[in-house]
């Protein structure tokens, strides 16, 4: 750790020893408030796992693709589509441009071979776009950041273990983006079943060498490691989403009402939505963005700059031979 020097005004010493370095924090904060933040979240999973609802629940507003598009009936597309929807949201003076990237068609076909390819291509395309801006002679003051900061992968609540499709997807994509796996529609699992399932999933992730967020190798210091270890013991979070409010014990809460009880989405005794929200938004949002830009993006950049091909000709993704050498 760097040697830290703190000047504290002693009693009866006046302002001589106070430099005022810490005021920079306030300056940064004010600038950030003015600028606003960008966050790009991708959701991946089969049709009907509650991806759109979860996004709406996380950000307490209608930010998902379905809320924006008027769809009469949800149809499974024959190929995978990548659809981005952006919203400007604000809270206590802090503005955020949130982009939710949906991937309808993933895992829904009879033959799902290579269904990760369009997604991989999209993620690399965003890195490419950023790279192009960066290497420009006349660069923009603030390069618009469309890089995918986080990919939430929805695991169906079978209660058994990961499916081959889940392993294939996460194995490949965890190398280029932060993957946050969640157990979708977790209200179908009892607490016992949930714990068993989570344990199985963690075992399988380890056995397949899949590093999901927060990745162990990117822990910065002991404090980080301690906090992240606790999170790693809990993932994947078992979530339930809802954009409907019900009256429970005199309060209005987000939940799902069934004949045998009401599931409260933000009650940690019912599901782990609150933990996911805290991770993604309240505590680790900046870290997620940081890892994307300083690690995933840099890996991409180094690889691209080492190539002899002109960047223009391959603006839409890596050339084939690099793709295969990157994959295990």
């Amino acid at each position: 750790t760097p040697h830290s020097c703190k000047t504290v005004p002693g009693p009866g010493m006046g302002d001589f020893s106070y430099v005022g370095i810490d005021a920079i924090l306030e300056q940064m904060r004010r600038k950030a408030m003015k600028q606003g933040f960008e966050l790009n979240i991708m959701v991946v999973g089969q049709s009907g796992l509650g991806k759109s609802t979860l996004m709406n629940t996380l950000f307490k507003s209608k930010v998902s693709r379905k809320s924006v598009q008027a769809t009469s009936q949800e149809k499974i597309p024959k190929t995978i589509h990548i659809k981005s929807v952006s919203h400007d949201i604000e809270e206590k003076g802090v503005r955020m441009k949130l982009t939710v990237i949906d991937t309808p068609g993933f895992g829904d076909q009879i033959n799902n071979e290579n269904c990760w390819q369009p997604i991989m291509k999209f993620i690399n395309a965003q890195y490419e776009q950023y790279l192009q801006e960066e290497i420009n002679i006349n660069r923009k003051k603030r390069i618009p950041d469309s890089r995918v900061h986080c990919c939430i992968y929805f695991i169906p609540p079978t209660g058994h273990c990961l499916r081959p499709l889940d392993v294939e997807f996460m194995r490949r994509l965890s190398k280029v983006v932060n993957i946050v796996p969640v157990i979708a529609k977790a209200d179908t699992l009892t607490l016992e079943e949930r714990d068993f399932f989570k344990q199985k999933i963690r075992e399988e992730l380890r056995a397949n060498g899949i590093d999901v967020y927060p990745q162990k190798e990117f822990d910065e210091d002991a404090e980080d490691r301690m906090i992240n270890d606790k999170i790693r013991e809990m993932i994947p979070f078992a979530v339930v989403g809802s954009d409907q409010e019900y009256q429970v014990n005199g309060r209005r809460l987000l939940g799902r009402k069934t004949k045998w009880g009401t599931i409260e989405v933000e009650n940690i005794a019912h599901c782990e939505f609150a933990y996911l929200r805290d991770l993604l938004i309240r505590t680790h949002m900046e870290n997620i963005k940081d890892i994307t830009s300083s690690i995933h993006y840099e890996v991409y950049r180094v690889r691209r700059l080492n190539e002899n091909n002109t960047a223009v000709a391959h603006a839409n993704g890596l050339p084939q031979h690099h793709m295969t050498s990157h994959e295990m």
């Binding site: 949800e74 071979e113 169906p156 058994h160 081959p164 392993v167 979708a184 009401t262």
Partner: protein, 377 residues
């Protein structure tokens, strides 16, 4: 309705209108009205058999539901594969047989499981092992039926296939449609919405409407309940109507007993409440059980024999006769039997039974010889 009660009701109906003078009653009463009772008694002695197939992706609660329906523990020693082991797994067919007895009635229940269905990344034609299995049972029955020794025919034909539709989607997925279409003309397909406790009542209704709609749109012929006789009472007709409108059934299974409302019930315990499997306002488990076991088991078997099997047989004969004329052979009145697929177990059993019969025949001959010799002396 109880099978026994039904029979008794029938007998009653037959006898009642003939209430006249005792003399006339004697004259008109032949006595064959007791036939149903006799059939009933014989069946009870012989016992029943039923073959049920379950299909659907891994983790849909198939095993739990089967155990809940028949109050068995068929999957005690099962080992679940992990994702790596599943990558190269193909669809298997596994049979579990269990003998159940209740109130003197014996049932030989066979559950045909289909692990691996729909679990791979590429599920192209993953239903083929299943359709092949069903065809094989038909073929075996056809051979046995056409054979000379018909005493010990084993009926392994699949009487019903429960197909588990995941509750997570918005309706039928491509694999659901393709599977049901591959099977609907070979077996009675009963679609179910699995793990229905993750859906609210309005979501269940929406999903059922959507699935019913798509079943019609894609021309899938699921098992249809027979129409009520016109002389059934209103209550029966109403129940029947409700049953039909409830399809596909939204089911939940459980092998654990929990305490709810002061009673011990089969259910699932959540932090927010208890789901009771046998509570009709929670799920359609009771309706499914009644259909499958209490009221329509016989009809399922009838439809299998009278429709699906006959279709197979007719198709088979047609194929064979067209092959014969193609080969320019003499047309024989009895078509040649199809090539048998090797089924070691059945062959062995048939061989055993044949040997037994041969032994008995020999004994009989010996006895006859002895009697004959005795007479001569």
């Amino acid at each position: 309705m109880d099978a026994i009660m039904l029979q008794e009701k029938l007998v009653e109906r037959l006898l009642c209108p003939r209430v006249r003078t005792s003399r006339q009653k004697e004259k008109q009463y032949v006595g064959f009205a007791t036939l149903p009772n006799q059939v009933h008694r014989k069946s009870v002695k012989k016992g029943f058999d039923f073959t049920l197939m379950v299909a659907g992706e891994s983790g849909m609660g198939k095993s739990t539901l089967v155990n809940s329906l028949f109050l068995t523990d068929l999957y005690k020693d099962r080992k679940l594969l992990n994702a790596e082991e599943r990558i190269n797994q193909t669809v298997e067919i596994i049979k579990h047989t269990v003998d159940i007895e209740e109130k003197g009635v014996k049932l030989k229940l066979t559950i045909v499981d289909t692990p691996g269905f729909g679990d791979a990344v590429n599920n192209n034609e993953c239903w083929k092992p299943i359709t092949d299995y069903i065809d094989q049972q038909f073929e075996q029955y056809f051979r046995d039926e056409s054979g000379l020794n018909r005493k010990n025919i084993q009926d392994n034909r699949v009487h019903c296939c429960l197909y588990f539709i995941p509750p997570f989607g918005h309706g039928l997925r491509p694999v659901d449609v393709e599977f049901m279409k591959a099977l609907h003309e070979k077996v009675n397909v009963v679609p179910l919405i699995a793990k229905a406790d993750c859906l609210t009542p309005s979501e269940i209704k929406k999903l059922k409407d959507r699935v019913r709609d798509e079943i019609e749109r894609f021309g899938i012929k699921v098992y249809q309940f027979p129409e009520c006789d016109s002389d059934e009472d209103e209550e029966f007709k109403q129940l029947d109507k409700e049953l039909k409108e409830c399809c596909p059934f939204a089911v939940i299974g459980s092998n654990t007993v929990v305490e709810a409302r002061g009673q011990r019930v089969r259910g699932r315990l959540y932090p927010w409440g208890i789901v009771e499997v046998e509570n009709q306002s929670h799920c359609d488990f009771v309706k499914l059980r009644n259909i499958l076991i209490r009221s329509h088991m016989h009809d399922l078997k009838d439809v299998t024999c009278d429709m699906h099997y006959e279709n197979y047989r007719a198709q088979c004969i047609q194929d064979m006769t067209s092959k014969l004329t193609q080969d320019n052979r003499m047309e024989s009145p009895i078509p040649m039997l199809p090539q048998s697929t090797p089924d070691v177990e059945t062959d062995r059993l048939i061989k055993m039974k044949d040997e037994e019969l041969a032994r008995m025949q020999e004994m009989l001959n010996k006895m006859q010889q002895q009697i004959h010799d005795g007479k001569d002396q």
